[in-house]
Amino acid sequence: MAELTLDAVTKVFQEGDGSEVVAVDDVNIDIGDGEFLVLVGPSGCGKSTTLRMIAGLETISSGEIRLGGSRLNEKQPAERDIAMVFQSYALYPHMTVRQNMSFGLEESTDLDDDTIRETVTDAATTMGIENLLDRKPGELSGGQQQRVALGRAIVRDPEVFLMDEPLSNLDAKLRAGMRTEIQRLQEDLDVTTVYVTHDQTEAMTMGDRIAVLDDGELMQVGSPLELYHRPANQFVAGFIGDPSMNFFDVSHEGGTLVGDGFEYPLSSDVASDLGETTDCVLGVRPEDVSLVESATDAHDFRTTVEVVEPMGNENNVYLSFGDEPSDEEPDQRFVATVGGLRRVERDSTVVARIPEDSVHLFDAATGDALHNRVLEEDVETQATIN
């Protein structure tokens, strides 16, 4: 059994001048056997450090990492039964693909040469690189090197795969292909996997569950849809989703949110979620903002189109409150996503509807979510299953 448990894991780096930097702060995650967990966050959030602590390449300052119930902290990387795929692939340039893949088996097992040969050939066939076995890494393309790096990890049949941004050196098209391939491979092999990325699209599409880190602290762990629809705080809400959620600084005054250039009335249900909090942040996803013919509701606002970004299948429309186009940079700009065939002219005045069902409210001081959007029954059940 290969459940991987991170129990209050903390990493403190000593700086040269004696000061301390907390890179990972009290992170708790339980990763089930065969689960695909994605660690995601901006650069420098501690996600790679966390992965390196699991691998044994960094010492653990405090806390405990357990694999299948046994403590890993003091074990050497080689004793952990963990394989890692690096961003730079880290292939051995002087060895052929076969030697690269055999190296781990030769160093960490007592298998005889024939068995190693056979195992490597099998793994190479799985990765579709059996015709490259006699080449050296320098003669391979980026995508092929990536396959060799994955092959080198799977050939050892480890308890856990660790992947550190393995796709970030590939071009966009290859990346999408490898994304599905890694998912398929992980499902076939059913090996517990921790995957680090800064790309929220990779996180959303690949992970069984996502753990969002910011500044060394764990923000939220959950299924992709949970994080998308029920973010625990403003950071997660803004990080997950592209284009990201619109935020408005507002103050809560007797059932109405007063913002810069607009007022947003709340129903009593939503208002009660806010409680005593007066300084809030209103959040709404771009696809939930719709452009309508005329203002019929208190949640409809007259806005001016600042910029239109046509994406083909949809348009990202940048709006500002008010109906006069001005040369000044607007204080508050927000994005609405509309269908790709709909024509929206720059500088024209449109009515934006922000439905109350789809708004999120956060405490401006702590960032904690006070109210999340209403989900229709079927979406909600799906979110809980995942």
Binding site: A78, F86, S88, A90, Y92, F103, E107, S108, R152
Partner: protein, 316 residues
Amino acid sequence: MSQQVATEGTTDETDRETGLLGGYGLRRVVLYAILLAMGVFYLVPIETGVMTAFTDPASYTGRAPFLPPLEPLVANSGEFSIQPWQNAVSGLSQGLLNSMILVIPATVLSGLLGSMAAYGLTNVHWRGQLAIYMLFVAGIFIPYQAVLVPLTQFWYNVVPLRTMFEPVGMALPIIEPYHWKLVALIVTHVAYGLPICTLLFRAHYKKLSDEMLEAARLDGASVTRIYRRIVLPLSIPMFAVVFIYQFTQIWNDLLFALTIVQFGDAAVVTQELVGIGVSQSGTNFPLRMAAALVAALPTLVVYVFFGDKFARGVAA
């Protein structure tokens, strides 16, 4: 401005058309003349040495030393002879052998130890390694003059290598008792060459990918296994650089040899070169020239053999 350039362009073309010695052509002629003069200037001493070495010593005086010995075809040009070469080889043979016994192990050892030290100081992380590395760097700057007396004291008085060596010399037929001096010389050269070798390898090892070495650790390889299977094979170009450098240094060294060997059967080739062809009846220049060329030959051979790897190592 552009018009001016255009006019110049046309002048150049007409020059080339009108005559070889017109502006453009004349510049070339001058350039090649200067290059030729510089080439001659640099090569004449070597050429003179070679020509002299092929001249019979008896007919040496009174000829122009840089002209080929062509008697009796050309009068007074000296008589062709390979006698100086034969004498040089037989005169230097003991020194050549001793130098080989010295230079091969000393070069290989300083390269290997330098590579290991650099690996330990660069790719393996432990407390206090920077301080140790600073000691290595300081070693590069120890002046030779400062160590000459201590070296003699060390090898003749402090370490009784001579007496330790006697039983070995008795037991093994190919080892002579005087070889202890060469062993002392090997150790001295390795110790003195180690800092610079370490520095060269360290520059190379700093560029090795950390992720690659970490991947090897995760693959289960120990620190020594990573060195043997990953780092060592990737250092071959740098070994070529270090081998050429150390070989030349040690082969050409006279100072340590004079200090440690002093005189006797263990004298290396540079020591023998000092005295060859010199006697009370005068200097035998053909023999001296031939001996100098013979003594320089091994370093040339090393350059030819390792040259291409050397170029890759310097570029790496």
